[in-house]
């Protein structure tokens, strides 16, 4: 048995167990900690499991901490080791393999188990619970397999609906069967649940209410579920998600007091000396909590108790959940029903807002589709404030700005930042703008849903939103204009000259790529290139992927490719064992998963130039078939697209520039949602700018309509250069054009004199560009493409 002096053993590697470990380490760096995880993995974020069901990503991405963290923080962690019993008489836990681990204090964070109904057929193949990554994998694979034509989810709670959404995402029709008269009855009342049903149907999820499943039918594999009334519903896949029960067996066997969960007091102590319980296995004041926020609160109190630190007590939590169901925002706080309810419904838009009052006091709220005012309502419900006029309060809450919140109200849930924290960043931290406050506090940098609130609070705290200059270097508060002026005045030609004189980019480095672009642009590409200032993509001329490999996209002008090029691409893909070859949205071919050290060789084999798909640069010009073959074509879109791409290729830009040319208004090249898009009309070409079809969708503004292809090329080229010279770094054209105003852009780009000058400056800059893939034979450093233990064999090779 290992020494137990001062050791704290934590049983259970879920969110609760990890939260206790972290809360302990925050307070004591030395106390020996052992975390015992039953699952074969480190603690992970179970709340996000349903995302895996949709995406099929590796569960490793959900890890709360990487393995090194435990080593670095002196936490002994055992995985795939289950505790068989608590040997309280020996102050030890006994693992299933017989090892005894001694403890002075013990934490039970054993979580919960999925509830499985004791009905016939529950053991059949094709019937799954929905709890761990293994379940997730099995459900997703089954839903995506050809043999499974129809799935049934038993249970219409939050998890059941999430499971259904994941199954539909694999292309498998699904029906949710629910015992109650409404879905999510724990969070929603009937009104909100009814509004949710059409949204679920839109997603392809069928819902059957008030049906009790009596049996799951099948020989070896499931083929149907049978209801109490004898009716059957075909199913090749059944997911059971009817609820959870606290995992209390270890405690119960050891004689620790258990009711529904392991009973704990306000300091999270169980009935046994030196043992605390936290999370879904614990019952505090007759309530078992299953949401993250209360569990984290419990973990902090438990840590204080374990370390004999006085003061902290757990007083219970008002359950509050903010989530997205079927793509709809939902906030559910406290009780869903009470003796007085104020409700506002807009069935047309699917908005439902309700405030629940019990005995004249705020008791709960359900906000679906419109969650404005939720922070204020949460604060009032948590404090159980008297609510004499709930209807008036509900209406007022919708109009409430975050500036009306109390300082303690939590604004950013991702990073636990309160309104008071934001104000302190202004009053004590010296921040003057929302951007500075967000950088300092990280508020708004997680899911981003609170960003508008953060901006409003900072605006109030700083006495109104001042015009915030877009700093190129936020540390030194230097704008692009200031720096461009200085660069021209002093004739600086390199990033390090600017950094040396002005400190730009020296402290945090975040603006180095912006500075590198500015130096190159103001010098018309006759600058001295310094690769340390470039993002990795621009050091190795390929796009870094999530696993550290790179993607390779050769230039294919206008998307028109020759059989010989295709053959070379195919040969290279095979030779370098490229894991994925994909046609991109911009009509190019992407070789994904190439190792960095293979880049020079694969470029050499391809014998093509760089497509710049990795860079803030001129990307692709997407074209439709145009006049040569299409029977509708009005203009030669392919010819113009190729002319544009050849005129601009190799130029860096403030942000990526995606273009398109369509040969007729049917617009098959989607030119109306491109940064620069041209559409052929009868005898004319319409040029549009500032379009977008990404996270934002914006129809491009019509810059002008011109008679000839040559004119179309000229005005688009003038606009491109205008954008290169005036946009902030990382400012897409769809932000740039509205910021400048279309009139101002037109004045600069359409005026003959200034337009000629713009086109000329672009030509000068273009003349100094060079295909970066030539660095395969001429690297800027012997280890440009390799780490210290890679053999830099392919660099500077002599083939060809």
């Amino acid at each position: 048995m290992t020494s137990s002096e001062r050791t704290i053993v934590i049983v259970g590697g879920g969110i609760a167990g990890q939260a206790v470990v972290e809360a302990l380490r925050d307070r004591d760096r030395d106390v020996p900690l052992t975390l015992v995880c039953g699952e074969p993995r480190l603690p992970y974020d179970r709340v996000r499991l349903s995302e895996l069901l949709v995406s099929g990503e590796d569960p490793g991405g959900l890890a709360l901490r990487p393995g090194e963290w435990f080593a670095d923080h002196g936490v002994r962690v055992l995985t795939a080791r289950r505790v068989a019993r608590l040997a309280l008489e020996l102050r030890a836990v006994e693992l299933e393999d017989g090892e005894m681990i001694g403890f002075e204090r013990l934490v039970l964070a054993t979580g919960s188990l999925p509830l499985l109904p004791p009905i016939p057929g529950i053991d059949l193949d094709g019937v799954h619970a929905f709890r761990g990554p293994e379940d997730c994998d099995a459900i997703r694979l089954a839903a995506a397999s050809a043999g499974v034509r129809r799935a049934v989810v038993i249970g219409g709670g939050l998890l059941g609906l999430e499971a259904a959404r994941g199954i539909v995402a694999q292309g498998c029709p699904v029906t949710v069967v629910h015992l109650m008269d409404r879905v999510m009855e724990r969070q929603l009342d009937a009104g909100a649940a009814n509004l949710l049903l059409p949204k679920l149907r839109e997603l392809g999820v069928d819902v059957v209410l008030e049906r009790q499943t009596d049996a799951i039918v099948g020989e070896d594999r499931v083929h149907a579920v049978r209801f109490r009334d004898g009716e059957e519903l075909d199913a090749d896949l059944v997911v059971v998600s009817i609820g959870i029960r606290p995992e209390t067996s270890l405690a119960r066997l050891a004689g620790v007091e258990v009711n529904r969960g392991i009973v704990v007091d306000d300091r999270m102590r169980t009935s046994a000396e030196g043992i605390v319980a936290v999370g879904e296995c614990a019952e505090h004041d007759r309530v078992v909590y299953g949401l993250v926020a209360p569990i984290l609160e419990q973990a902090r109190v438990a840590a204080a108790t374990l370390l004999d630190l006085p003061g902290e007590r757990y007083r219970g939590s008002v359950p509050s959940a903010r989530l997205k169901v079927a793509g709809v925002d939902l906030v559910a706080i406290g009780a869903a029903e009470g003796d007085t309810e104020a409700i506002s419904i807009d069935a047309g838009t699917g908005v439902y807002r309700k405030l629940v009052v019990r005995d004249g006091l705020a008791a709960g709220a359900v906000l679906l589709g419109d969650v404005r005012g939720s922070e204020a309502l949460l604060a009032e419900i948590a404090a159980a404030e008297p609510l004499p006029d709930p209807l008036g309060r509900l209406a007022a809450a919708a109009a409430l700005g975050p500036e009306d919140l109390p300082d303690a109200a939590q604004i950013c849930n991702c990073n636990s930042v309160s309104k008071g924290g934001l104000i302190a960043a202004v009053s004590e931290g010296g921040c003057a703008t929302p951007r500075e406050v967000m950088t300092r506090t990280r508020a708004g940098t997680g899911c981003g849903s609170c960003r508008a609130s953060v901006i409003a609070i900072v605006a109030a705290a700083t006495g109104g939103l001042k015009h915030e200059p877009a700093y190129l270097c936020a540390c030194e508060r230097q704008t692009r204009e200031d720096l461009a002026g200085a660069i021209r005045e002093h004739g600086w030609r390199s990033v390090s000259e600017v950094t040396g004189a002005c400190r730009t980019g020296r402290e945090c480095g975040a603006c180095k790529p912006a500075l590198a672009y500015l130096v190159s642009e103001t010098n018309a590409n006759r600058h001295r290139e310094e690769r340390h200032a470039r993002f990795i993509n621009d050091r190795v001329h390929a796009n870094i992927q999530r696993d550290g490999t790179f993607s390779v996209v050769p230039r294919i002008h206008g998307g028109v490719v020759t059989p010989d090029q295709l053959r070379r691409i195919a040969d290279a893909a095979e030779k370098y064992e490229v894991p994925m070859v994909k046609i991109t949205g911009g009509q190019r071919i992407d070789l994904l998963g190439v190792r960095k050290q293979d880049l020079p060789a694969i470029w050499r084999d391809l014998g093509m130039t760089s497509g710049f798909a990795y860079s803030k640069a001129v990307r692709t010009v997407k074209t439709c078939v145009g006049t040569d073959f299409c029977r509708y074509g009005l203009g030669d879109s392919i010819a113009l697209g190729i002319e544009m791409e050849k005129a601009w290729e190799g130029l860096h830009t403030p942000h990526k520039v995606k273009s398109g040319v369509s040969g007729c208004p049917r617009n098959c090249a989607e030119a109306t949602v491109k940064d620069i898009g041209v559409v052929a009309l009868e005898g004319a070409w319409q040029v549009r700018i500032g379009g977008a079809a990404g996270g934002n969708v914006r129809e491009g503004d019509v810059l002008c309509t011109v008679k000839t292809r040559a004119e179309a090329l000229r005005v688009s080229t003038a606009f491109l250069q205008y954008y290169r010279e005036h946009a902030e770094y990382k400012e897409r054209t769809y932000d740039f054009v509205p910021r400048m105003g279309l009139d101002q852009v037109r004045a600069a780009v359409l005026d003959e004199h200034s337009s000629t000058a713009l086109v000329e400056r672009l030509r000068i800059a273009k003349a100094a560009t060079r295909d970066p893939w030539l660095e395969r034979d001429d690297p800027y450093h012997p280890r440009q493409f390799g780490d210290l233990d890679d053999v830099p064999a392919h660099v500077g090779g002599t083939e060809r």
Binding site: Q18, A19, E22, A23, R25, D26, R29, D45, V47, R48, G61, L64, R65, P66, E68, W69, A71, D72, H73, G74, V292, A293, L296, N413, C414, N415, S416, T439, R440, T441, R442, G446, G505, R506, E507, C508, G509, A510, K512, P513, E530, R531, H532, A533, F535, I536, R539, I544, R546, D547, G548, Y780, H781, P782, R783, Q784, G786, D787, L788, D789
Partner: protein, 110 residues
């Protein structure tokens, strides 16, 4: 471990030291070494943008202090190792895992 010429000024490169993958950084006026993998989503820190005392992970722009390994404005940390330059050679000593000087921040809710 390597020659000073093996790492371009202002960049990083990775190498295995005592069984640990370590990223070596040649900053403006000093050398640093951290564990090579970003604890957030496994990004290669050696490919990051290096400033005077920090490196920015190329995948999701988490920024780490080169001397302590602590994330700037965040809750992650990586182990920091000892680097010495003698003559033209760079020596790296992978430090024992253990507590770093940096302040460790609380686990936060999602």
């Amino acid at each position: 471990m390597c020659s000073i010429d093996d790492v371009p000024v202002g960049e990083g490169r990775a190498v295995v030291v005592d069984g640990r993958r370590v990223a070596v950084f040649r900053a403006e006026d000093a050398w640093f070494a951290l564990d090579a993998t970003c604890p957030h989503r496994g990004g290669p820190l050696a490919d990051g943008i290096v400033a005077r005392r920090t490196v920015i992970c190329p995948l999701h722009e988490r920024r780490f202090d080169l001397a302590t390994g602590q994330e700037c404005l965040g809750r992650y940390s990586v182990a920091a190792h000892r680097v010495e330059v003698r003559g033209g050679d760079v020596f790296i000593e992978a430090l024992e895992p253990g507590w770093l000087d940096a302040e460790h921040r609380a686990f936060v809710a999602r």
